[in-house]
Symmetry: C2
Subunit: 375 residues, 2 copies
Amino acid sequence: MHFETPLPLQSGAVLPAYELAFETYGTLNAERSNAVLVCHALNASHHVAGTWANGSVGWWDNLIGPGKPLDTDRFFVIGINNPGSCFGSTGPMHTNPATGRPWGSDFPVVTVEDWVDAQARLLDRLGINRLAAVLGGSLGGMQALAWSLRHPQRVRQVAAIATAPNLSAQNIAFNEVARRAIVTDPDFHGGHFYGHGVLPRRGLRVARMLGHITYLSDDTMEARFGRSLRAGDGAALAYTTQDIEFQIESYLRHQGDKFSEYFDANTYLLITRALDYFDPARAHGGDLARAFAAAGCEALGLRFLVVSFTTDWRFAPGRSREIVKALVDNRIAVNYAEIDAPHGHDAFLLDDARYHALVRAWFERLSGELDNRHV
Amino acid sequence: MHFETPLPLQSGAVLPAYELAFETYGTLNAERSNAVLVCHALNASHHVAGTWANGSVGWWDNLIGPGKPLDTDRFFVIGINNPGSCFGSTGPMHTNPATGRPWGSDFPVVTVEDWVDAQARLLDRLGINRLAAVLGGSLGGMQALAWSLRHPQRVRQVAAIATAPNLSAQNIAFNEVARRAIVTDPDFHGGHFYGHGVLPRRGLRVARMLGHITYLSDDTMEARFGRSLRAGDGAALAYTTQDIEFQIESYLRHQGDKFSEYFDANTYLLITRALDYFDPARAHGGDLARAFAAAGCEALGLRFLVVSFTTDWRFAPGRSREIVKALVDNRIAVNYAEIDAPHGHDAFLLDDARYHALVRAWFERLSGELDNRHV
């Protein structure tokens, strides 16, 4: 969908005319009350469910679809790609109208709040005044939280999975290492590599390898790879510093290679920065409870689902509990579950029975409430 | 000290004639029974204590010196730099006699066991048949363990601090990301950058930044840096993807810059690989207890001190407990302490009162035992 009106950004800059890629599932009911917006994290898009003709399966297909926990027979689900991403919406690889060349690193810095504003404009166009729910995991969960704070009158319920009220110093540190790997790759050309016929693949590979470590729990990595040798556990050691010896090295290099072929380097910088900057409590003296109070979430009757995973060390359960505490301090209705799952941060994308049952029950209750309003 | 006899290595290769840099403190007694060998970790050397004329303070100076926990008024302390390092002993920046050019990435892969063998040769030259103790932290702790397994008749007591019986998949993964950053830096030139007048600084910076994250606890990083802005906490956000916004970024970049000026890239590969390869249980079906049994540590009366730190997530206390269990399974005497310290892996280098009191008591008892033998 094309938008002519420039989008004012948190930074003070504006995003001129832009496109948003989105995908919908199910049917918007007559009351236009059953819409659920699904927000994506770093390496994902509007393609949240279903399978494209090219075989591409939606990134949350195990959770969203007909008869699934977020049931598209009941809800009208909207997946949207955020500006600055590299999967369809306007991003750094597209033309900067001011120069006629790709934006590159001149693409404006976008924040979680900017994305939520862009999403709200899409809803305007779709004629949806109020969402039944907004759902997101990780960075997507931050967008869900931002909806409740920025447009609280436009959403009934908010599901924030495996997320945090802001990044810790360690989280920012990992992002910064990844960014330095990209920015110092000679093929980055200050973010204007598009015209040089090269891609900063070295930097992207390192960034992705590092990211992968933080997505998996220590235990999962140990169980899947341990100290197994690529040549087989009975094999003699090769004694090499540059070649692969252990299976975990082979796995990480493969992940890095794949990622560097399709992900945009400037998008990586923009999205990790959106993560770094997200901090809704900052404008309220660091007090998240005051942020929810200022938004009037309690008076508007918003209800929350917050889910964390025990082995997630990127956004540990303690970070979700900070969100829950701020909600409870405001007497805002919240269901909180800490799922005992071994998979680390990635657990939010996986098909865990207890987790999915919980999400299913939450949406079923919401669906029932919407039905009762019809009566 | 120069060694003409080639050193046979675990890989099957040999290190031809080589130099070992070492430093000693205190006085070897008449019985030659009071020698303590101190083994270094990744970024350290033979300069374990005292202050050089240039102001350089030994890396374990808070622990080692006259009247300190490892008291050089009582013990003859030896610090040694390992082959492959870049602080004095023969390493990849020195001349490969086969080519007349710097070794570079052709320097043979050295293991913890190889280092211990080189250290044993130094003791031969110094006329020390049996060490009172060997002491090391992190990778140095692995060398201390290797002493007990490889030359158990040559050491009375073993102190292994903040270490592990081998690296986990996650540990190897972090090492591999750092190595890829270095190896894919165009200035690495396949490890033969010395002749090109360049250094792979980009890769070294990324490697060091990443390393630093794993040395500090999440809590320490949060307490020291949190989300503080470099411009000051009241400052407006700069909204930048490539420049520094947060203090933690400034700190990490500074650490990376410093390191890249003095540390050798090939040494980084060699030392991280020595970490990866260390796994004394491997030759015993993965059973560390069998490794200690095969070495005869119990019959020889070896005694151990094992120390871990609660917030060390690089080598977590559970890894030290694996060592303790293998010792106890063999009825080998071991003192184990888990120090409740906030500083993460770096805690082993810091002046924590309980930790230092423990090390002091352990060495005082050892000193007393050596004195009693005089009587």
